[in-house]
């Protein structure tokens, strides 16, 4: 569903993403781990078409993002670290607007069901987003993704800054989505969350995908060890 082939992105002399090959299938939750500057966010931006690749390809549902920028966006939803919504509109109106952009012709009642499904409290539906917490905004983001009924979801550090309970709730939402067959790519720093939620885990540093494994195959402390090894090894190389 989500695929990169020998993907490379350079900013001047700096190689942000180096020869990356990724393959995320439907129903998978792929957690991309890595320190700051590892190239995680660049990867996400390449998937979203916000930046153009220097070399290689990004494919969504088999379509090249660089060639079919708009069509590919029909299939993916995006939740950035700080999910931005229009502060003067209510949560419901934001959903209505963004759902409308995806050509969705959903009735008000359906939209409300989606908000409820995303876990937003009923009382918050008609409040302006300017008063929302980050967790609440993320829920609207999920509702938008649900409304879009997209086949893939890309999240950039979605749980940073969420308290453990909100983070937990959010993880459960992702599981529901993946049960529906959505391919999910999530970048994170949170090793614990990655192991709990993810089906597959990739560790990236300096633009290179160092290791990949199934979440069920590693225990938490093992993951930490592997992660540190990869990152340290990298530092030593440097």
């Amino acid at each position: 569903m989500l695929q990169t082939i020998k993907l490379t992105k350079k900013y001047g002399d700096v190689i942000a993403v180096n020869n990356l090959d990724l393959q995320i299938n439907q129903g998978e939750i792929y957690c991309l781990l890595g320190p700051n500057g590892a190239g995680k966010t660049t990867t996400v931006n390449l998937f979203m078409g916000f930046v153009a690749p220097t070399d290689g390809k990004v494919l969504i549902n088999g379509m090249d993002v660089a060639l079919n920028a708009r069509e590919t966006k029909q299939h993916i939803s995006y939740i950035p670290e700080n999910l931005a919504l229009y502060p003067n509109l209510t949560g419901f109106e934001n959903l209505e607007f963004f759902a409308g952009l995806s050509n969705g012709r959903l009735a008000d009642a359906d939209l409300k069901i989606l908000l409820r499904e995303a876990g937003l409290q009923q009382s918050a539906f008609d409040q302006r987003v300017s008063g929302y917490s980050k967790g609440m905004r993320q829920k609207v983001g999920v509702a938008i993704a649900l409304a879009k009924d997209s086949k893939a979801l890309i999240l950039d550090e979605p749980t940073s800054g969420l308290d453990p309970q909100a983070s937990n709730e959010f993880a459960r939402l992702l599981e529901i989505l993946s049960d529906k067959g959505v391919a999910i790519l999530m970048t994170t720093h949170d090793l614990f969350r990655a192991r709990e939620t993810g089906t597959r885990i990739g560790i990236m540093s300096d633009g290179v995908l160092r290791r990949e494994f199934n979440a069920k195959d590693v225990k938490h402390n093992e993951l930490e060890q592997v992660y540190l090894e990869q990152v340290l090894q990298n530092v030593q190389e440097a």
Binding site: M48, R70, E71, Y86, N88, L89, F97, G100, N103
Partner: protein
């Protein structure tokens, strides 16, 4: 039926395409409505507009009353004057007051700066006197609170206020990324935002325009109120707003921060409405200085040097001889008319020629100034709109000169009437005093405003420049490459 279905399906297809634009526009509008600053600004504009309308109406009615009253007083002066030689009456003269056109309620134009009273007398052509501005404090130089001030000067500021962050706020708030993550073309976003701003502006402008129309309609006064004329004025304002909407969105697109966008737009606004007009006025005054009173007097004196002075019999010898020869008489007393009246009329015509020369000189300096100022229209869309607005309201300089020429034509008739009365009511050498019957039968002055066609002919230049600005701003808006991401 099938044709019907065909058109409907096409219509729906188009609607679906427009659907997205409508959604974006609607969202934009909803956001504007909820922003307290915008709401406050809109309400303030409305209140100012109402204040302007009320004070303009009061001013108009007061002026109208004063002028009517003064004109009546002057007529009575004239009719009740003592019996005297008609030439004495020509010196006493009358005053004509320029009426304000009904549309001056919208745009007072130069009315405060142009004289309102024309002294009509023998020998002398006078420039209009009693300029309102002479009796003003310095406050009026900041601007006059009229509907046109709100519609031409302040409305662009409102447009800037609601549109300056159309794109910057999306960028600063991060929603730009959210928009981009959806399958929506940036051109539609642009059109949607354009429509959102335009809708708000029209929602403010249309009620103002209707209320203003009703008030003008209800006011009795000089000049016809034609709906077409009024609608054209409305179209001029609307075109002007389109220019500012386009400029605002362009600047917002290319700015990184809302703050810089706002400052840039305000700089554009102040350049267009204040700096450019003032700079061009200064340049006009520098390159085409107007003669002062003493220079004009000197010019007039030179122009008529060697001519026939109506008061100086010494230089009229030749004229006497010529007239007597023509009529085959030896004595002036034998002429079939009073030679004094004849001589005065000849002198008057000579004076008029001299004045025509002097005034042509003054007017050419003035039109040199006006042409130079009009060139500022290339740098400021405000200028052609202000000129159009004044022109359509009959309050521009052209109308003032038009009236002034009508007065001059009347002056010549007026003096001719009195001189002929002297000529034919008495014989040379007789003492003749004209009475109230002569005063009562003086020619009437009437002035009609130029028709719409004439106004449009005079305004074609401004209209073209305005349309040029609209076209230019739309082209500039199109240069925004809708696929480009961060701009």
């Amino acid at each position: 039926m099938s044709l019907n279905r065909f058109t409907w399906s096409r219509f729906f297809k188009m609607c679906r395409r427009l659907e997205m634009v409508r959604r974006i526009a609607e969202k934009e509008w909803k956001e504007q409505l909820r922003e307290k600053r915008y709401l406050a600004a809109g309400i303030l504009m409305g209140l100012l507009f109402i204040t302007a309308l009320i004070s303009s109406k009061a001013y108009y009615e007061n002026e109208q009353h004063l002028r009517l009253h003064a004109q009546q007083g002057i007529e009575e002066n004239w009719l009740n004057q003592r019996d005297k030689n008609p030439h004495g009456a020509a010196h006493y003269g009358i005053y004509l007051f320029k009426p304000e056109s009904r549309l001056a309620l919208i745009d007072r134009g130069v009315n405060r700066y142009a004289g309102t009273a024309f002294f009509v007398e023998g020998h002398v052509r006078n420039e209009a006197q009693f300029r309102k501005i002479e009796d003003e404090t310095g406050l009026v130089r900041f601007g006059e609170l009229t509907p046109a001030y709100i519609l031409i000067t302040l409305m662009p500021l409102f447009i800037i206020l609601i549109g300056f962050n159309a794109f910057t706020k999306e960028r600063e708030g991060g929603t730009w990324r959210m928009l981009q993550s959806h399958n929506v073309s940036m051109r539609k976003v642009l059109i949607g935002k354009w429509a959102g701003v335009a809708f708000t502006v029209l929602m403010l402008f249309i009620p103002m325009f209707i209320v203003m129309g009703l008030i003008i309609y209800s006011v009795s006064g000089f000049g016809e109120f034609s709906l077409t004329h009024y609608m054209i004025l409305g179209a001029v304002y609307t075109l002007y707003y389109l220019i500012f909407i386009n400029l605002t969105l362009i600047v917002s697109w290319f700015s990184k921060h809302s703050g810089t966008a706002f400052i840039t737009l305000l700089a554009i606004w102040i350049t267009a409405t204040l700096v450019v007009p003032k700079l061009f006025v200064s340049a006009a005054q520098y390159f085409h200085p107007l003669p002062d009173t003493n220079t004009v007097t000197e010019m007039y004196r030179e122009a008529r040097a060697g001519g026939i002075d109506g008061h100086n019999p010494a230089s009229a010898r030749e004229l006497e001889r010529k007239v007597m020869e023509e009529h085959g008489v030896d004595r002036l007393e034998d002429l079939p008319f009073n030679f004094a009246g004849y001589r005065l009329q000849v002198g008057e015509e000579y004076d008029t020629k001299a004045y025509n020369y002097v005034f042509a000189h003054i007017r050419s300096a003035i039109s040199g100034q006006d042409i130079l100022i009009r060139k500022g229209s290339v740098l400021s869309p405000f200028l052609p709109v202000r000129n159009l607005s004044m022109g359509l309201a009959y309050t521009d300089v052209e109308n003032h000169w038009d009236f002034s020429e009508a007065v001059e034509r009347y002056r010549q008739d007026f003096v001719l009437y009195l001189n002929e009365d002297l000529m034919y009511s008495s014989r040379t050498g007789e003492t003749y005093l004209a009475g109230s019957d002569v005063w009562a039968a003086k020619p009437d002055f009437s002035y009609e405003l130029p028709g719409m066609g004439e106004v449009f002919r005079a305004q074609t230049g401004n209209l073209f420049i305005l349309i040029g600005w609209v076209a230019f701003s739309f082209l500039a808006l199109l240069t925004i490459r809708p696929t480009s991401g961060e701009g």
